[in-house]
């Protein structure tokens, strides 16, 4: 390899290293994700950060290749180009290597956070409590196991695994709690499920992402189709839900 070509690769390598370093610094140094309010949020965020971590060297590599090309391979042309580049049509081994590495990378992320993440997120199909949710333009109705019912308010116990049974009376809506990082559509004629284990005690007043937000367009009130979520300690929750059922 002659000196000139070696220099190309040195440029590329150094730029790649620099860009990757900047990338990692930015991604890991800055808090990009909001507060986690559920066990599921940790799983999702871990997957997110893993994918971010994997993409940084990819971005950095492409950016480095482009910048190296721009800086080292540009030529001054007056009128019409008279000089061609080297007649390289292919480099089979390089293509094979490239395909193999992208394939391995794709398989890797399919396994983790892919399949492993799905298994973790879904967990066991068992729940401590079941909460029924009914969507109807543009509000939510919530039924708890003991007959208690709330309207546009969702109360949950911390550290208990909750199953939501969700349906809709009119259109497709979507039940999204950004603080929990989970969502599932509410579909007329079907019941959809969602498992979450809230963590930490708090309410919409503490974090606006502790809310159920409709995420599937449903007309006029779509943006406002949200209800605050309040996570209580298990004891407080039990007291609250019994009070409500008896008061009713």
């Amino acid at each position: 390899m002659d000196q000139d070509r070696r220099n190309d690769w040195i440029w590329f390598g150094s730029l790649w290293a620099i860009f990757s370093a900047i990338g990692f610094y930015l991604v890991l140094g800055i808090d990009l994700l909001p507060a986690q309010w559920a066990h599921e949020a940790e799983i999702v965020d871990d997957a997110y950060i893993l994918l971010m971590g994997l993409s940084i060297p990819i971005f950095a590599g492409v950016a480095a290749a482009l910048l190296t090309s721009l800086l080292r391979f540009r030529v001054q042309v007056d009128d019409i180009p008279t000089e061609d580049g080297p007649p390289v049509h292919n480099n089979r081994n390089f293509v094979r290597l490239w395909v193999a590495s992208t394939l391995i990378l794709a398989l890797m992320i399919t396994v983790n956070p892919g399949f492993i993440g799905i298994a973790e997120l879904r967990g066991e199909p068992s729940a401590d409590i079941v909460v029924e949710v009914q969507a109807q333009r543009w509000s939510w109705k919530v039924n708890y196991e003991n007959g208690a019912e709330t309207f546009n308010q969702l109360y949950l116990p911390a550290d208990r695994r909750v199953r939501f049974d969700i349906t809709s009376l009119d259109l497709v809506h979507s039940f999204w709690i950004p603080g929990f990082r989970v969502k599932i559509d509410a579909v007329p004629g079907r019941v959809t499920y969602l498992y979450v284990t809230p963590e930490g005690v708090g309410s919409f007043e503490d974090d606006f992402n502790l809310r159920v937000q409709c995420a599937e367009i449903c007309g006029l009130g779509h943006a406002q189709m949200a209800m605050p979520v309040t996570v209580l300690s298990p004891a407080d929750f039990d007291a609250w839900v019994t009070d409500l059922a008896e008061g009713a």
């Binding site: 070509r5 190309d8 990009l32 909001p34 799983i43 999702v44 997957a47 997110y48 994918l51 993409s55 990819i58 971005f59 492409v62 950016a63 290749a65 482009l66 090309s69 721009l70 391979f73 030529v75 019409i80 180009p81 008279t82 000089e83 061609d84 580049g85 080297p86 007649p87 390289v88 049509h89 480099n91 293509v95 490239w98 394939l103 794709a106 398989l107 992320i109 956070p113 973790e120 997120l121 259109l171 497709v172 979507s174 999204w176 950004p178 989970v182 969502k183 599932i184 579909v187 007329p188 079907r190 992402n209 937000q213 409709c214 599937e216 007309g219 006029l220 779509h222 943006a223 406002q224």
Partner: protein, 617 residues
């Protein structure tokens, strides 16, 4: 002109006749959706009859000779021309206008979103403007490159004198104006507000404008199918002698792969819309969960087309960008065969990944894994495209004119789109990100970054061929940088907005998200401004740009060996293809020859020094 006038009159008459007859038969009022449906259908027939089918096909059906249009000059562009170059330019002009219209809607949307709370638009109006923006832009994305460059370049590149079915080609284009009219007329019936995806039951119960959406978009689908059919037939049957499959310019391959997709999957979108129309006007219950129907049926049908559709958008873009890169860096396209295999693999895989849009839809969970896996696999052939682009640049002789600038920026923009797509293909992260602004940012990187940037690459690269004039390169580069910076500043913050709890398709959002939204809006206006520069660049170059000559880039493929713009029927003699399309750097390499060929697209090897190789008188 005469044809156009006649078409408009017949179209209107047809509408009135269809609507009135329906009204007479069934009563009710003239504004009922059934009347609109039949009015539209008869109107469409009238329009097509008036624009030129009446002069050609219909006369032949009755055994009369066709009356070919004899207009010349610029008037051809306003009539039923069967010349593929005219049709290509018609597409180009039409979709630039639609792009600008969609852009105006985008500016209105971002103005509304600059601040939390209700501003200039109430929630209803917002949904309508957003839906209009979405469907106009999707139409641009699907048809702009294939329609304009597909028509203009494919026949010349393969050494043919026109498309296989020139009249069908004209009909394909003239189906587009009714689409635009249908969509833009929707406000008369109360607009459509269900987004471009038009999910039922919302799209079954909302305002009457939705029926116009359904009709217009179905028409658009018909146009896509016919266009795809024509491109494929042309490529298969009309290649010049010697133009083997291994010598096709890469854009032709890309157009071929994309056309395959539109030919075979668009039906599913049409079918899903027809079912909506039936639910609306015929009283069927396909999407009525209460009566045994299933809203998810629509989503399956819809995405069975609409995921492949994103490849209809970007595959031709790949083609334009790769062409530009190989010509402007004066190196053969790296790994040509692998790229071809990748294009076809992407087209094949694209039909088995649709349900990655439905991970949170409530469909059966055992489907999640397979669809995630299939989706991740698409990154492998897509990676090959990136490899080819970058390896072609590597050690080339980069002639940094505007088209190459755009092509290189494209690589990075589309990479952003592709990598963020992995987040949405992964079930775990998608459960959080689906239907949030993360998705909005993602698809703008893929569609705007991947398709519009490629479209602009193509416009800047082939402008001299189409108009015979050069573009002001300095302004072109300023535009490229302006657009890119504006684009990044507008859409980068939206990834953050998505992860931080902003859902899409909303006119109002929590106050805490105001800062990033304001930033994105201001950047969007900055971005929007750059298009004024584009218009100036194009118009001023078309009117008084310096003459381009036949082969200003000294490129090797066939379209550069004919005059700019190319003559009628393209070639003065039958072209014969004798070699690889991108023989850069190889002495005496020739792609094709034909009688009367003037320009020669390859520079002599460095030491030859006779200096005549690249001349083009």
């Amino acid at each position: 002109m005469r044809q156009l006038l006649r078409a408009v009159i017949f179209g209107i008459l047809g509408y009135l006749i269809g609507a009135t007859l329906t009204w007479l038969v069934r009563g009710g009022s003239l504004g009922d959706e059934v009347c609109v449906v039949f009015g539209y259908v008869v109107g469409l027939v009238g329009w097509l009859f008036g624009i030129g089918m009446g002069d050609t096909w219909v006369r032949e059906w009755f055994g009369l000779p066709a009356r070919e249009s004899d207009v010349t000059g610029w008037k051809r562009y306003l009539g039923f021309s069967t010349d593929h170059k005219v049709i290509g330019v018609q597409y180009l002009a039409t979709f630039i206008v639609v792009l600008l219209l969609g852009g105006v809607a985008a500016m209105i949307i971002r103005f509304e979103l600059a601040q939390a709370g209700e501003g200039i638009l109430n929630a209803d109006r917002y949904n309508q403007v957003m839906s209009m923006h979405g469907i106009l832009m999707v139409a641009v994305a699907v048809a702009a490159i294939l329609g304009s460059f597909g028509n203009y370049l494919v026949p010349i590149m393969i050494g043919a004198d026109d498309m296989a079915f020139p009249r069908l080609n004209a009909v394909t284009f003239w189906l587009i104006p009714p689409v635009a009219i249908g969509l833009l007329a929707a406000p008369t019936l109360g607009s459509f507000d269900a987004g471009w995806t038009a999910y039922p039951p919302l799209s079954v119960v909302n305002n009457g404008g939705q029926i116009l959406f359904v009709l217009a978009v179905t028409t658009f689908g018909l146009s896509s199918i016919l266009g795809g059919l024509n491109v494929i037939t042309t490529i298969v049957t009309m290649r010049a002698p010697g133009m083997t499959w291994g010598r096709l310019p890469i854009f032709v391959w890309a157009a071929f792969a994309a056309s395959m997709i539109s030919l075979l999957t668009t039906q599913f979108f049409a079918a899903s819309l027809v079912l909506i129309a039936m639910d609306r006007v015929a009283g069927t219950v396909f999407f009525d969960g209460g009566a045994g129907g299933d809203p998810l049926l629509y989503q399956h049908l819809f995405w069975f087309y609409s995921h492949p559709a994103v490849y209809v958008m970007v595959l031709p873009g790949f083609g334009l960008v790769l062409e530009t890169i190989t010509h402007m860096s004066r190196k053969p396209l790296f790994a040509y065969k692998a790229v071809v295999v990748s294009l076809l693999t992407i087209a094949g895989l694209s039909v088995i990944v649709w349900a990655h849009h439905m991970f949170t839809s409530g469909m059966a969970e055992y489907l999640h894994g397979p669809f995630m896996f299939a989706t991740e696999m698409i990154s492998v052939p897509t990676g090959v495209i990136f490899l080819s682009a970058m390896a072609t640049l590597w050690r080339g002789k980069l002639w940094m004119k505007t088209p190459l600038f755009f092509a290189m920026i494209w690589i990075f923009q589309f990479l952003m789109g592709g990598v963020t797509g992995i987040f949405l293909a992964d079930v775990v992260t998608d459960v959080s990100l689906h239907d949030s602004y993360f998705v909005v940012a993602h698809f703008h990187y893929t569609i705007m970054g991947g398709m519009i940037f490629a479209f602009l690459t193509g416009i800047f690269f082939w402008f001299p061929k189409i108009t015979g004039r050069m573009i002001n390169d300095r302004l072109g580069i300023i535009f490229a940088l302006w657009l890119t910076i504006g684009f990044q500043l507008t859409f980068l913050p939206q990834f953050w907005l998505g992860t931080n709890g902003m859902n899409r398709r909303i006119a109002d959002y929590p106050d805490q998200l105001e800062g990033a939204n304001l930033f994105s809006s201001i950047s969007a206006f900055f971005l929007g401004g750059s298009f004024l520069l584009l218009i100036y660049i194009l118009l001023s170059a078309a009117r008084r740009g310096p003459k381009a000559g036949d082969n200003p880039w000294n490129a090797s493929t066939l379209e550069w060996q004919v005059s700019s713009p190319p003559p009628e029927h393209n070639f003065s003699g039958q072209p014969t293809v004798v070699g690889h399309p991108y023989g850069y750097g190889t002495a005496d390499s020739r792609h094709a020859e034909f009688a009367g060929m003037t320009a020669v697209g390859l520079a002599e090897p460095e030491q030859a020094g006779t200096g005549e190789g690249g001349d083009n008188e």
